[in-house]
């Protein structure tokens, strides 16, 4: 095996020349991204850098204009969202994505029932799903929500909803988790809880996350890709990236860079 092949086999997700244009405006410009097996990989960048667009391309919520997306060496460029979900790529959403008028248990069970093959059986009783309850409760336990099992999700606090979302995602035993700003809109206490949770559930999986909160990124991520104006600006581990003057400039604007220059 050549060095290149060895590297390729460790790549869970890869993009080649990924580009998205909206009527002449290039939101994502020739992005080559490589996410390694077992890593927590962050996608960061200032507002309007194209993070969310990249994310939507990867999750197939948007079709790319050009370029390829590979999952474990196979092209998924032309697959649909629900199809990549079945391959083991599960995404989360910026705003908590739960099924509000279902109980926490039912939320998790809806994910579990997918592999049962009875999801179109409208003539069967709901009771045929009861054997999944034990597994669903175990998953709720894993994210500290066991006591919420019979509570309607709409009545749960925000941080708990996000935890429930994680439990639902775990139910599908994803190989690759794509998280869209998991700590968005949270208080400090909830942020800590979610960071711990992500750390815990990422064992044995690969995670790619879009994140604004740099302290979260520094605590969690093995590798960071910085986007600016739709293109990759820098890549590396946190220390590396955070010292990069280009990144500092993109984040703080030219003022900070000048200040830096004055100090030097």
């Amino acid at each position: 095996m050549s060095a290149d092949e060895a590297l390729a086999s460790r790549m869970v997700l890869e993009t080649r020349g990924l580009t998205k244009e909206f009527r002449g405006f290039t939101a994502v410009d020739d992005v080559n991204l490589q996410v390694q097996d077992g890593h927590i990989h962050a996608l960061i960048g200032p507002n309007g850098a194209g993070k969310t667009t990249v994310f939507n391309l990867l999750t197939k919520f948007l079709p790319p204009t050009r370029g390829e997306i590979l999952y474990r060496g196979k092209s998924i460029t032309r697959l649909k969202s629900n199809e990549i979900a079945r391959m083991g790529i599960i995404r989360s959403f910026q705003i908590s994505a739960v099924f509000a008028h279902m109980t926490a248990l039912e939320n998790v069970r809806v994910a579990l029932q997918r592999n049962l093959g009875t999801s179109f059986h409208f003539w069967k009783s709901e009771k045929s799903l009861d054997h999944l309850n034990e597994r669903a409760l175990a998953l709720l336990d894993e994210v500290g929500l066991r006591d919420y099992a019979d509570i309607l999700t709409v009545e749960m606090p925000y941080g708990r909803k996000r935890a429930l979302e994680v439990a639902t995602t775990l139910a599908l035993e994803p190989d690759l988790m794509l998280l869209d700003e998991p700590t968005q809109g949270m208080g400090a206490e909830d942020v800590d809880r979610i960071v711990e949770l992500i750390k815990r559930v990422s064992k044995g999986r690969t995670v790619l996350m879009v994140e604004h909160n740099l302290s979260v990124v520094s605590r969690l991520c093995d590798r960071i890709t910085v986007l600016a104006r739709g293109a990759v600006l820098a890549e590396g581990d946190y220390d590396n990236v955070s010292c990069n003057p280009l990144v500092r400039e993109a984040y703080m604007g030219s003022e900070a860079a000048e200040e830096e220059g004055a100090q030097a």
Partner: protein
């Protein structure tokens, strides 16, 4: 919360659920008894009309209340069921009514699949508009087609003999047949809502992108709901034609698509009993008002009721009652 409490909870919840299910079953038994004795208290033909529209509204509610899809073309299925059944029974005297009704339902189901495939990719108001446009198309087909009798409609459809030996010309026999059809339709909806499929449907209604990201092909699930709904609307139309021995353009007109929305919202969208209540109220009002001096004002009065309903009790009559019940007795 201590461990003991945590462990005690699931069983307590199960106990509560069991009691709720028992109460619900008792309630259903009571309703069936009411349905069985009703023709001795009220005029059977009136009751049959209520039951047909109740089934129609229940079918519509499955789509709006449980799949979150607002169809503005359900009249097409009601009318298709009615016309096909009417035409077959009137032209082939050897056919028994149940065969005629099944044929009508089948054609309505097929039409539902066609509508569904064309409309399901659109969301919200666009979905409603596509269904309306398709239903208008069907309306004009019925105006022009030679077998429907055009503006006059089909008259004198024979009720015939059920299974070849039970004469339905007796209103009481007819009533119990309609009641059985209604119960079948209602049971099917009740089961669909509380099935593995119903769970996914609910998830799609609550958050479609999330359901997609869990790996569900949501368009297919919505299509199935649309087809079941169209089939039951067709069944309602077919049965209605046998009861009244006629099929007319009234059933195909977009007014009818609007009326079923009114019935469902008035009774309570997303509740199993709401559409029945709504259909009962609307049909009764039409019946009473058409015989009173206010006869010409039926549409206006229904419109006012609709406005009041949407403005002040959005969850409908049954929805409001359920809320008050939950507040005071739980």
């Amino acid at each position: 919360m201590s461990d003991a409490q945590t462990l005690a909870r699931p069983s307590a919840v199960m106990e509560r659920q069991k009691r709720a299910i028992m109460r619900r079953n008792l309630f259903y038994v009571a309703l069936v008894v009411v349905g069985l004795v009703a023709p001795f208290v009220a005029y059977p033909v009136f009751l049959m009309k209520v039951l047909c529209f109740a089934l129609f509204a229940c079918a519509f509610n499955l789509l709006l209340g449980y799949a979150g899809l607002l169809s503005f073309g359900h009249a097409a299925f009601l009318a298709t069921g009615g016309y096909i059944t009417g035409y077959l029974l009137a032209s082939y005297p050897g056919l028994t009514p149940e065969i005629g009704i099944m044929a009508g339902t089948l054609v309505a189901t097929a039409l539902g699949a066609l509508f569904g495939i064309l409309a399901i990719r659109r969301q919200g108001i666009y979905f409603a508009m596509v269904t309306l446009a398709l239903a208008q198309l069907v309306y004009f087909v019925f105006v022009q087609a030679p077998f429907t009798g055009g503006e006059d409609g089909l008259h004198g459809v024979p009720r015939g003999e059920l299974l070849g030996f039970i004469s339905l010309s007796n209103n009481l026999a007819m009533y119990y047949f309609v009641f059985a059809v209604f119960l079948f339709g209602f049971a099917l909806i009740q089961r669909t809502v509380h099935s593995p499929y119903g769970q996914v449907l609910k998830a799609i209604r609550e958050n479609e992108p999330r359901a997609v990201s869990l790996g569900y092909n949501t368009d297919m699930y919505k299509l199935v709901a649309f087809v079941i709904s169209a089939a039951l609307a067709g069944l309602a139309g077919s049965t209605k034609t046998v009861v009244f021995q006629l099929a007319s353009l009234t059933d195909a007109h977009w007014h009818m698509s609007g009326e079923v929305i009114l019935m469902t919202l008035l009774g309570g969208v997303g509740t199993l009993l709401g559409p029945i209540m709504g259909a009962g109220i609307v049909v009764s009002l039409q019946h009473v008002l058409s015989q009173s001096p206010l006869g010409n004002w039926v549409s206006v009065i229904l419109g006012i009721i609709f406005v009041i309903c949407v403005l002040s009790f959005r969850s409908g009559i049954v929805g409001e009652i359920a809320r008050m019940y939950n507040k005071n007795f739980k």
